[in-house]
């Protein structure tokens, strides 16, 4: 009885699926989905290699400092970094005094502990990067987690920063309606090809590096991408280091446990 009922239920779902499949297949054949402009012209991020790649990778502090400089002088005009505290910057190799000086160069609107009023004061190492007021349309995303929040991570950021161009002529020819609207900018690495951020890094020497590195557009984009990997994963080096020790310990105990297992089962045939 239960099996007859079961076969009926199975038939019910199967018929519904066959109908759905038939309908879908019919419209797939009669009206094949048109190729979209995104599917044709979007490109996956180009490969980017950073010092922090791989399980033994470590941050290149010099590069992170350069990336921080690019963030501060370029990105920070619109993008906040709210999960990062100034004290965290000591991980980039800054001394305590340097961290204090960097913090003090920011203005923090905070409650005065004596009067309870909100007042502007110079930043302290314990403060986080302050809110950034953006006057234009939309909300530029906070950058603290950006490399974890996008497919492709740092490679995507680097490709996006260097991927601005005019719309290709073939695109306009194939998709005349897909002209980039006013106020948006064409970028082949952006999932829907047009974004509201204009190219932020445009010319060589836009930032003056103090370590003598030549500030090409590609170099600056690479440096800021590396910096944003750090803001998203400040624990990365400690995590991998801990992981290596822990995996070594586990490997050792697993081998011991395996030998114990062989020993215990030695008198039982078939194992």
């Amino acid at each position: 009885m239960i099996r007859i009922f079961s076969i009926l239920v199975g038939a019910f779902f199967s018929l519904a699926l066959l109908l759905a499949f038939g309908t879908g297949a019919y419209s797939f054949v009669t009206e094949p989905p048109a190729k979209t402009v995104e599917a044709t012209f979007y490109e996956h991020p180009e490969k980017l290699s950073l010092a922090s790649d791989g399980i033994f990778g470590k941050y290149d502090k010099q590069q992170l400092q350069r990336g921080f400089q690019v963030y501060k002088e370029v990105c920070a005009a619109c993008h906040s970094l709210k999960h990062v505290a100034f004290r965290d910057l000591s991980a980039l190799g800054y001394s305590e005094a340097e961290v204090k000086a960097i913090a003090a160069s920011y203005t923090i609107n905070a409650q005065d502990p004596l009067t309870g009023e909100f007042k502007d004061r110079p930043g302290m190492p314990s403060d986080k990067f302050p809110h950034v007021t953006y006057a234009g349309k939309g909300v530029p995303p906070d950058l603290s987690l950006i490399t974890k929040a996008r497919h492709g991570g740092a490679a995507y950021i680097h490709s996006l920063l260097t991927g601005y161009s005019e719309q290709p002529a073939e695109l306009i020819k194939a998709f005349p309606d897909a002209k980039t609207p006013d106020g948006l900018y064409y970028n082949r690495f952006f999932p829907n090809l047009n974004l509201s951020m204009p190219a932020p890094i445009t010319s060589e020497g836009q930032v003056t590096y103090s370590d003598g590195t030549k500030a090409t557009v590609d170099q600056m984009s690479k440096d800021v991408s590396a910096f944003l990997v750090w803001t998203a994963e400040p624990e990365l080096e400690k995590r991998r280091q801990t992981g290596l020790w822990w995996m070594g310990f586990l490997l050792f105990t697993t081998v011991l446990a395996y030998m114990a297992y062989r020993n215990v089962w030695a008198d039982k045939k078939g194992h």
């Binding site: 309908t23 797939f28 290596l244 586990l250 297992y261 078939g270």
Partner: protein
């Protein structure tokens, strides 16, 4: 099961004797997972996943309780408090990555455990209750995992909650009020986040309770084994300790190695980047996808794209998705084959492997965007899924001619001569 030849607990130390008279807890442990529990000697590595599932539950409860000490279930600060755990709490990143990847590990292990049951007919009499309780555990796990994923209040958290609670609105008449009652509002918001947190903390302990019942029911009849032949004599079994404690013990090491590789070296490999974007009710993500362990069921949900008879497509999808799991409750009565193990069921074995492939295809389609050809593929794969459980299993179990079974577990391990030799000795 207490076979007559099982070792008896005989405490030698006076303190343990005193304890045994007042509260025989050590005796319970000895008889449950110690030298007093006799287990078939021929269990293969597929039988290790139950123990590992218990380990995963412990990992989740321990990391989860500590995470709850630092997390704040309020839509204004939930996302930031998660980042606070990642950055400011000592070893917070390890707790959180351990918990997030622990959920994935738990599902990997439990899926292996369930498919072991499908293959070796673990659900069959007299172990139906073990199986039923197992399905209850799986359903509780799904609910717990879903609510846990909402807690960081990222984009996928919010939109996942929106989609999954939206399923309830497909129910005729009471659907919308029911959804609003469940959420405590018209959309996921603070009320929903708070109750999800409360339930996410509660349910693991409910799972623990059902796990205890699951193990209790298991111990009434004892484990199955790869031959599916019941235990007949002392030579068929070995005491759980030290034999299976040693075997489970080293696979715990192996499991921890793989799990730790994810936690320490690729902690975000199984997650979705969008959940690092704070929840934004005004901006729908391009593709809303649940965590990978829900993909097969998500594919089934989305496969129903047209209305059928009087049932709207959305309700069909919801009914189908729940039926896809609820049918497991009926499996012991749908599969009437007296032979348990697929090892001796040539026809069922083939369909089993088709099912494995089918679920893998469903999983792939569930993770892919809802576009062609994935929708058509998931329709065909869902079709097979339903045919398998509702039609093929019942029919195969009545028409199949099983291969000859070994006389006993001992014979299957030692061969015919070994059994004869043992028989001669006895």
């Amino acid at each position: 099961m207490s076979f007559p030849w099982a070792n008896e607990y005989k405490p030698s130390h006076p303190l343990m004797q005193w304890m045994d008279e007042k509260l025989p807890l050590p005796r319970l442990v000895y008889n449950a997972v110690g030298g007093g529990y006799e287990v078939p000697r021929n269990l293969n590595y597929m039988y290790n996943f139950g123990f590992l599932a218990g380990l995963c539950l412990m990992i989740q409860i321990i990391t989860g309780v500590v995470l709850a000490m630092h997390y704040a279930p309020n839509t204004l600060v939930a996302f930031d408090s998660t980042e606070h755990i990642m950055r400011d709490v000592n070893w917070g990143w390890m707790l959180r990555y351990g918990h997030a990847n622990g959920a994935s590990a738990f599902f990997v292990v439990v899926y292996a455990h369930i498919f072991r049951g499908f293959y070796y007919g673990s659900y069959k009499a007299p172990r139906e209750m073990v199986w039923l309780l197992g399905v209850v555990i799986f359903l509780l796990m799904m609910a717990t995992a879903f609510m846990g994923y909402v807690l960081p209040w990222g984009q996928m958290s919010f939109w996942g909650a929106q989609v999954i609670t939206g399923l309830f609105s497909a129910i005729p008449l009471v659907g919308d009020p029911l959804r609003e009652w469940l959420l405590g509002g018209f959309a996921p918001d603070n009320a929903a986040l708070n109750r999800f947190f409360s339930l996410h903390f509660l349910l693991p302990f409910v799972i623990l309770g059902v796990v205890i019942l699951h193990i209790w029911a298991l111990h009434i009849n004892g484990s199955t084994n790869p031959t599916g032949v019941e235990v007949k004599s002392k030579s068929d079994t070995v005491p759980f300790h030290p034999y299976y404690t040693a075997k489970d013990g080293w696979t715990v090491g192996l499991f921890m190695l793989i799990y730790s590789a994810f936690v320490f070296f690729m902690p975000n490999a199984l997650g979705h980047p969008d959940n690092y974007i704070p929840a934004n009710p005004m901006q729908t993500p391009a593709h809303i996808v649940p965590e990978w362990y829900f993909w097969p069921f998500y594919a089934i949900l989305r496969a129903f794209t047209v209305d059928f008879l009087i049932v709207p497509a959305k309700l069909m999808g919801v009914l189908a998705m729940f039926s896809a799991i609820l049918v497991w409750f009926f499996l012991p009565w749908l599969d009437k084959s007296p032979v348990r193990s697929a090892k001796y069921r040539p026809l069922y074995r083939k369909f089993f492997w088709v099912l494995v492939l089918d679920v893998a295809i469903l999983a792939y389609c569930g993770g892919a965007p809802a576009e062609e050809p994935f929708v058509m593929i998931s329709q065909i794969a869902s079709l097979y899924y339903f045919l398998h459980f509702f039609v093929i299993v019942p029919i195969v179990s009545s028409i199949e001619r099983p291969d000859p079974l070994p006389f006993s577990i001992t014979e299957s391990v030692l061969g015919h001569d070994g059994q004869a030799a043992l028989g001669a000795k006895a």
